[in-house]
Every structure is written in C-alpha cells, then in structure tokens.
C-alpha cells in the first residue's frame, strides 16, 4: 500500500471522529428547530454553560463566588468537597432542565406566532445572556474537565495497523468514546421520536400547533421537553469538547461550525445532522491533508463554509432536508 493512501486513511478516520463532535452540536439545533421552528443560536453557549456547570459542581465551586466576595467582602471559593462525576452529570442535567423551563416560560411562550427572525434574535440575546451568566456563576478561567473518559492514543489500533501497514494509526481513545456515545444518543433520539407517545407529540407540535392542541397536547410541555433534550445534547457535547480541549469560552464558537453541518444535512433531519457532521469533519481534514499545504494551510478554518455555500447553491434543502415544494 502506498504511503499516501495509508496516511489518507488515517486522516479520514480522524476526520470522522472530529465530525462526531460537530454532529453532536448540530443535533441540538435540529431538535429545537424541528419542534418549534426556532433556530437556536445559543446551542453552542448551552454546551459551554453545561460544561462549566458540570466542572463547577464536580470541583465543589461556590456559584457566583466572585459576585458574593465582591459584595460582602468575603473570601469563599470552594465548598471543599468533590462530587463524583456521575452524580455531577445528573445534577447538571437538572440545571439544564430548569434552564429549559426558564427559557420557555420567560422568553419563548411570549413569542408564539412571531416571525422566525424575531425568534432568532431572541436566541442571540439568550446566547449573550447565558455566556455572561456562566461567567458570573463559575468564573472565566479555563477549566480542566475530567469525568473519567479514557484519553490518549489507542494502543490496540496502533499495534494492529502497525502490523499490517508497518505504520501505526494515531486514534485518540476519547474520539472512540465520543463516537460510541454519539451513536447511542442518535439511536435513542430516533427511537424516542418514532415510537413513544411523547415523541409522537413532539412531531405533532412541530407540524401543526392548532391540530396538536385539538388532540390534547400541551405545547408548553413539549417545548420544555425539547429544550431539555437540547440541553442534554449540549451537555454531552460540552463533556466531549471540554475533555478534549478544556472548558473555555471559545467553546461557544463551535456553534458556528454547526451551521455548515446543518446546511449539508438539512435543518430538520436527525440523521442529516450526523452525516453532515461526518462529511464536514472528513472533508476538512482530507482537504487540509491533500491540498492545504499547496495553498498555505489553515484551510480547516474556511473549508466547511465554502462547502456549505456550494450546497446552498445546488441543494438548498440539504442532503436529507424535506424537499422544498412551492405549490402555485
């Protein structure tokens, strides 16, 4: 096997792994967009907020400690305990459900039937609020996240490929775990949407509000449920990104990478978000590997957006989006 091809294979594998993380963020967008027609700009910040909260709870950090210290002249920073990862994840999920409830009750139930652009503006506001709130609550320093996920090179794959190609592939254990978790998440979301009554109700609300009301579905309940689900997906994405590169505020920017993913996959398709994420992940790594060096590198910054632009021109509904048919 020629060397280029072997390296290429490794690049594709790593691209797939990176794509899984894009897909996780995109998934959160799709959930909310499908059920309420809201493009939730704050999805990335939600992942950040979830990660911050998780680390804060695990470390026993006192929330709003800077604020409390500044106002009362005290010196409290830590409760002095450590919470086990699993319990901390559960507690963070409770926080995300409360957040979902607050977002729906305070913002979106007052904006029912508004133009999409107004809903979008509201989510931009939410994003900035949440970023500031997370800062005040947990502080803005970069935090290390360790919930016990394996990290570092996977030696089994390294050995295995070395024996075959005489060249060991570098695959990160964390990426493998992320892939497995993302797959499980997508599978359960699809089962939930297709086969449970809440899932059916969610699809019903996404389709027609009046009709949903007339069969006895509470819109507010469904919206809180969907925002909670998106919060859960954000938490998973936050854990993955946080473990990989530390919990820092640039995490909220990964939301932007989800945009080209959604344009490829379609805004309304759960499988689309996954395939879109993988395509972008593989595409940008492969492009950088094959062509990047010829044009000065750093193509990963823009490749995804150019690909999305091409899709907008030739297939605006994305790969899996519902076909746009205008009846005259």
């Amino acid at each position: 096997m020629p060397e280029q091809l072997i390296w290429g294979t490794e690049v594709v594998l790593n691209g797939l792994m990176a794509g899984v993380l894009y897909a996780l963020v995109a998934l959160g967008f799709v959930l909310i967009y499908k059920a309420s027609g809201i493009f939730n700009y704050a999805q990335g910040v939600m992942a950040l907020f979830a990660a911050l909260t998780l680390v804060g709870i695990m470390e026993g950090q006192v929330p709003f400690s800077h604020l409390i210290n500044a106002v009362f002249g005290t010196e409290v920073h830590h409760f002095g305990w450590h919470v086990p990862a699993l319990l901390a994840i559960l507690l963070t999920m409770v926080v995300m459900v409360v957040l979902a409830w607050a977002v729906n009750t305070l913002i979106f139930r007052h904006l029912v039937n508004q133009e999409p652009i107004i809903l979008f503006m509201a989510t931009i506001g939410l994003a900035y609020f949440l970023e500031g709130f997370g800062d005040i609550m947990w502080g803005s320093d970069i935090k290390k996240m360790d919930v016990g996920l394996p990290q570092g090179i996977n030696l089994a794959i390294d050995d295995f490929t070395f024996n075959i190609f005489d060249y060991g592939f570098f695959i990160d254990n964390l990426d493998l775990v992320a892939t497995a978790i993302a797959a499980a998440l997508v599978f359960s979301l699809i089962v939930f949407a297709q086969y449970t009554k809440q899932g059916r109700a969610m699809r019903a609300v996404a389709d027609d509000h009046q009709a949903a009301l007339s069969v006895g579905i509470s819109l507010n309940f469904i919206w809180v449920m969907v925002w909670s689900l998106a919060g859960f997906v954000a938490l998973v994405a936050g854990i993955m990104w946080g473990t990989k590169s530390g919990v820092q505020f640039s995490l909220s920017l990964i939301a932007l990478k989800a945009l080209p993913v959604l344009m490829l996959g379609g805004f309304t398709s759960i499988p689309g978000a996954i395939v879109g994420g993988l395509l972008i992940g593989v595409g940008e790594k492969l492009f950088e590997f094959a062509i990047g060096s010829m044009i000065g590198g750093a193509t990963e910054n823009w490749f995804a957006y150019v690909l999305a632009l091409l899709f907008l021109v030739f297939r605006p509904q994305g790969l899996f989006g519902e076909k746009i048919i205008e009846r005259v």
Binding site: T196, A211, S214, G216, I217, L219
Partner: protein, 272 residues
C-alpha cells in the same frame, strides 16, 4: 315542541339521552366587535346537533368556545353536569371533546396512521420509561390503541392510504383523515367545523354518510357547523340558527325551516 326533560326519540327511532353540554348566555367579544351575543343552547347525548347561519354569523366562534380555543367574556359552559372553568384547548380535548377544523389541521409530515394515533393521546398513560423498555402495560396499551385505530381506519375506508404521508393526499381524503383522528379519541362530543366545505357533490354525500354512520355505529354525539342548508337539514336532529352573533332559531329541521326569522336571514328581507 319536543319534550326535553328526559331526552327524546328521533323520527328514525334513535333514542337521544340527557344533556351533555349546555351553553348558558354566552357572549364573546373581540375588542368592540360582538361575535356571539347572549346565546344559550344544549347538546344531548347521541344526537347530531347543527349550528347554521350565514357567513359571519359567529358559528365558528361558537365552536371555538366549545373547544376552548376562545374563552367567552360572559356566560357559562356546563359539561357533563359541571360548570367548566376557563380552560386551555388541550385540557378541553383531554376531557373528551374532539374537533376538526374548517381549513384542515393535520400533521402533514406524518403518515395517516400516525396522524390517527395522535388522536389516542387521551388513552395513553404509560410513562416514558415503561415505553422505552417496551414492557407490560405500555405494550398492552400500544396494542389496544393500534386495534382501536385500525378499526376506525377500516370504518372510514382509508386503509389503502394508511402509510401515506398526509401532505400528499387530496383534499377530500384529508378531511376524512381529520375525522378519523378526532374519532380516535373516542370523544364524548365530536365537533365538526364545516365538514363539507369545498367538497364536490359526491364527496359531500360520502361525508354525510360517514357522519351518520359514526353517530349510528359508535353512538357519538356530534355538533357540526355548516352553511349548506340542504345538507344540514338531512343530517341533523336539532338545529341552532345564528345570525349576526344572535340565536334566531332552535329546533328540529322542520321547525327551523318554517321559522320566519330564519327565512329572512337566509333569503333577505324587504325593508319598507
């Protein structure tokens, strides 16, 4: 007049029972516009009750009051012998009042079967975990609901499109799917908002037959709105006539047909 104290027997021999729903002095305003003005009437168990009137008479508003989409400023709604407090539409639906819409409100992206299944939400109460594990009660519940739904699908003769996404169906079939979804809830009262609107003669005949069959087979109480007088007179046991938000007639089709106010409202009256 009919004797209303204990129900009555229709011309074709069906027994009509006691009062299921009673509207008392309902007044509904939108700003300065009075859509419904001091209207009272009742709906009895097992009957087909029509609300008719010219365009803009307030018929749809009345249906929306019954189904909880509007809450009236004045008046009382009595349901199954109890005064109903102001409610959200989904709460009314869960009490067993199902409806269809004049402009069809279906879940276009879902199949016919899924659409009709949503009608069963009232009958499903297994928790999420139970459903996830697909055990015991949840499974039994799903099977029971599927059976009930299939029966209705057979009854309304839409078996051949069970798996078709609703968005692809023609208008007449959509109306029938909407009826199926409402029926799936096994409602105490079935509200039909202009079930024949926009249909051709053949489709109208089909729909009339289905409405009569539903009433006959399941004993469903039906309240419907229609402005096509001919259809209504053939279908219904009792008729409320509205004009400009007021009630101008109430009784059997024959009584209503001979009511001078009704004739004036429909044919116009000479002003001299």
């Amino acid at each position: 007049m009919l004797d209303m104290s204990q129900g009555y027997t229709t011309e074709d021999g069906r027994k009509i029972g006691g009062v299921v729903m009673e509207m008392k002095h309902i007044t509904l305003r939108f700003g300065g516009v009075v859509a419904i003005q001091d209207i009272s009437f009742d709906i009895r168990e097992g009957e087909i009750r029509a609300i008719i009137g010219p365009n803009g008479a307030g018929k749809s508003s009345m249906l929306n009051v019954i189904s909880g989409f509007y809450n009236p400023q004045e008046g009382e709604v009595w349901y199954k012998g109890a005064l109903r407090p102001p409610m959200k539409p989904y709460q009314v639906a869960r009490q067993g009042i199902a409806r269809t819409f004049q402009n069809i409100a279906l879940f276009e992206g879902m199949t016919v079967l899924d659409n009709v299944m949503t009608g069963r939400i009232r009958q499903m109460d297994a928790g999420l975990m139970a459903q996830a594990l697909w055990k015991g009660r949840a499974e039994r519940e799903e099977v029971e609901n599927r059976e009930a739904v299939e029966k209705i699908i057979d009854f309304l003769e839409i078996q051949h499109i069970r798996k078709t996404p609703v968005g692809r169906l023609p208008y007449g079939l959509k109306k029938r799917v909407e009826l199926a979804r409402a029926l799936a809830a096994e409602p105490s009262i079935l509200l039909l908002d202009e079930p024949m609107a926009g249909m051709n003669v053949e489709e109208k005949e089909d729909m009339s037959r289905f409405i009569l069959d539903v009433n006959d087979e399941f004993g469903t109480t039906i309240a419907l709105i229609e402005h096509d007088m001919g259809v209504v007179m053939d279908l219904s046991d009792r008729v409320v006539v509205m004009d400009y938000g007021k009630k101008i007639g109430d009784g059997t089709p024959d009584e209503v047909r001979n009511n001078q106010d009704v004739i004036d409202a429909y044919l116009g009256v000479a002003h001299d």
